[in-house]
């Protein structure tokens, strides 16, 4: 399992410390979890849906026989086999569900880098990277970047451990306050700066009242969407936006070589933090799963569909209250009959699932199991691609190569996730591919392609 944390602090210069992880939406089902069905909060609904994955629609009739079994443990073991099959069958869909947001984030970052010059100007450094890279000698520069990296990584480690300790000792209020503060800063301050720079680039004038209105609305809706409830797509869009903003900040304020060394170091750190038994991220995810709580929604991008009331079926009105009944009916054939006729209709039509599935429910079930990707992954992928766009002299070829490399790395990581079924670090493979392709494309492929293009040769 992988977890991503975003620790923001108040001042602009302090970066967000990101950890990355990729978590399968299917956590091991626990029988007592059925009591948690009452909560209708979005995040919990997600984990709840994770638990339900075993009972979801399967065209396999044999498995459906298991679904009608009353004993939960039997159903669970059978459902785990189903889960495996279904996971792998729907694996391609989940990969695409993650490709799209990662691609969008990268597109936003690359577009901004290419058009807004602010993010490629060097205007100072963060206090986390105190050593400057303006030294004449190569060795000194390398040394400075390594020192910068060490400082940055240690800051990240300290923050992660701090967060894990807070989580372990149930200081939820503190964590929530921290997260809210950091997303406030991101949503308001960074957006303000971003908007200002974009307007400057395109020479568009905007008066302060309009600006305040726009930013206030954007930020307020963002806070609600991320920390509370909201349409899934809007929440995903906001998460992509803040990841892109964070990545832009990193690209601007990290010096050249330090950025590359930091990327490499953080993927190694991610590998260790998630896979080692005492790794902070692993402990966090395990604690969260033990307590059957979702990881904070502000830190994780989830591709699973949240149960929205506005489904395109005639008896949607009954969906809200029938959610619990449907779920429990699914699980143990306990029918909490609610008074509305349509509810019983739903419940009855749920019974002959193998022969005649309801389309919308089927869709829902198919889309329910999603994969979660930490926001730090988004950020560091975008940092890599953004840096490639900003600093590579081969321009678009290098950017494109890094983009494809990162996507393939993500694909491989998801494949491993399907095989291993536990949280995995999403950074190492992709970042390794990305770095390899960046340096090789910039130094090897670019001269080749340039020579070919100048003679107009095609290979």
């Amino acid at each position: 399992m992988m977890i991503t944390f975003m620790n923001n602090s108040d001042s602009e210069e302090e970066p967000c410390n990101e950890r990355t992880s990729l978590m399968s939406a299917e956590s091991p089902p626990v029988p007592s979890y059925q009591d948690g069905l009452q909560a209708s909060e979005a995040g919990e609904a997600q984990t709840h849906r994770k638990r339900r994955t075993g009972g979801s629609h399967s065209p396999n009739n044999a498995a459906d026989g298991n679904m009608s079994g009353s004993s939960v443990p039997v159903r669970e073991s059978a459902s785990e086999n189903e889960e495996e099959e279904l996971t792998l069958k729907y694996g391609a869909k989940h990969v695409i569900m993650l490709f799209v947001p990662v691609t969008l984030c990268m597109i936003v970052v690359v577009a901004t880098i290419k058009s807004v010059r602010f993010y490629t100007e060097k205007n100072g450094q963060l206090i986390y990277t105190p050593f400057s890279e303006d030294t004449p000698s190569v060795g000194q520069r390398l040394l400075n970047s390594v020192l910068n990296t060490i400082i940055m990584i240690s800051v990240i480690v300290v923050m992660t451990v701090f967060l894990v300790l807070l989580y372990k000792y149930r200081c939820y209020k503190f964590i929530h306050g921290w997260l809210i503060l950091s997303s406030l800063m991101l949503l308001f301050l960074f957006t303000y700066i971003y908007l200002g720079e974009v307007l400057k680039t395109y020479n568009v004038a905007m008066d302060y009242p309009t600006l305040i209105l726009v930013i206030w609305n954007f930020g307020a809706v963002g806070m609600i969407c991320i920390h509370w409830k909201g349409p899934l797509q809007l929440q995903q869009a906001y998460l992509i936006m803040i990841s892109a903003l964070m990545a832009l900040v990193f690209i601007k304020y990290l010096p050249e070589w330090s950025a590359w060394v930091i990327l490499g170091a953080i993927s190694i750190y991610d590998l260790m933090a998630v896979l080692c038994p005492k790794g902070p991220l692993r402990m966090l995810v395990e604690t969260a799963q033990e307590r059957n709580e979702p990881i904070f929604p502000a830190l994780i991008y989830s591709s699973a569909m949240i149960w929205t009331v506005g489904m395109a079926k005639p008896d949607t009105a009954a969906r809200g209250p029938s959610q619990q009944t449907w779920d429990t009916a699914e699980d143990g054939r306990e029918n909490h009959r609610s008074p509305s006729h349509s509810d019983s209709e739903i419940l009855e039509t749920r019974s002959p699932v193998p022969t005649h599935p309801i389309t919308s429910l089927e869709e829902l079930e198919e889309e329910e199991r999603g994969v979660k990707l930490g926001l730090g992954d988004f950020i560091f992928y975008s940092v890599l691609v953004g840096k490639a766009a900003a600093t590579a002299s081969g321009d678009w070829n290098t950017t494109l190569a890094c983009f494809v490399a990162i996507l393939i790395g993500l694909c491989l990581t998801l494949l491993l996730l399907a095989v291993f079924k536990k949280a995995l670090p999403a950074l190492p493979i992709s970042i390794t591919f990305g770095l390899v392709f960046y340096f090789s494309t910039d130094n090897l492929v670019r001269p080749f392609m340039d020579t070919l293009a100048s003679h107009q040769l095609y290979i």
């Binding site: 070829n397 494809v404 001269p447 070919l452």
Partner: protein
């Protein structure tokens, strides 16, 4: 035809990745050769460039073969995982998607810097070069993308049925097309043969995918069922199609025929 199905998108991106790796290796070889040689010797540099191009073509085809091997293994895995014993995607569809992947990546790498430069100020051909540079580049890129798609289909078909001459034909065609670009800026020497080769490859791939002259006629005449007509033309409908399906060397049906 590709964006609808997530599996195809993955195969597309993986195809692009394989092309990228082949380009990387070939440019590595070229780079080493150039660094090891005298930079002032013009004919030598030109010769090295030609060698680089040919080597790159051969390497691309080699990677296409490797990708074919990978996709074969993937099909076996998908068949094992699926409930009804048929893979959700057939090898022909994979061939098509792989070809498109190769083509898109090749086209993108050829064209995108050009496009970026075209956005900026400048005059085409100010130093006496051809003024049609952008146009011809665009056409050449387009023909290459199509050709890669068709070569994908032909290549995979040849590998499936163990017809080595098909594979050799693809390699020879690729070499010919790349070689013809050496005639640039004499564009008639490069564009015309390339388009002719593309027409040949197109008809060949179409026939191999199960199309026929009747399908074309039916497609052109059948206006009301144009959607199905398109699929008839493409020959890519895996089930219920009155076309040939590929039978691999072991006599084992590869194409899944559904209801």
């Amino acid at each position: 035809t590709i964006a609808r199905d997530p599996l195809r998108i993955i195969i597309l991106i993986a195809g692009a990745f394989f092309w990228l790796v082949s380009l990387l290796l070939s440019s590595l070889i070229w780079f080493i050769a150039v660094k090891a040689s005298d930079p002032n010797d013009e004919p030598l540099q030109k010769g090295l460039l030609i060698f680089g191009v040919m080597f790159s073509v051969l390497l691309q085809e080699a990677f296409r073969f490797l990708y074919y091997k990978l996709l074969r293994k993937a099909i076996e895995g998908l068949v094992a995982l699926s409930e009804d014993g048929c893979s959700p995607i057939s090898i022909q569809q994979m061939a098509y998607v792989a070809g498109v992947g190769f083509g898109l990546m090749s086209g993108a790498f050829s064209m995108i810097n050009l496009l970026a430069d075209a956005l900026g100020p400048g005059t085409v051909g100010i130093y006496g070069d051809s003024q049609l540079y952008f146009l011809t580049s665009a056409f050449m890129t387009m023909v290459l993308i199509f050709l890669h798609t068709f070569w994908g289909i032909l290549f995979f078909h040849g590998c499936e049925n163990r017809r080595w001459w098909e594979i050799a034909a693809v390699v020879v065609m690729h070499l010919a097309v790349s070689g013809s670009t050496f005639c640039n800026p004499l564009y008639v020497g490069s564009l015309v043969p390339s388009y002719m080769l593309m027409a040949i490859a197109a008809t060949w791939a179409y026939l191999l995918s199960g199309g026929s002259a009747q399908n074309v006629r039916r497609f052109l005449l059948c206006k009301s069922c144009s959607v199905t007509g398109t699929w008839y033309l493409a020959g890519l409908v895996p089930s219920g199609l009155p076309g040939r399906s590929w039978v691999s060397a072991g006599g084992h049906r590869v194409v899944s025929v559904g209801g």
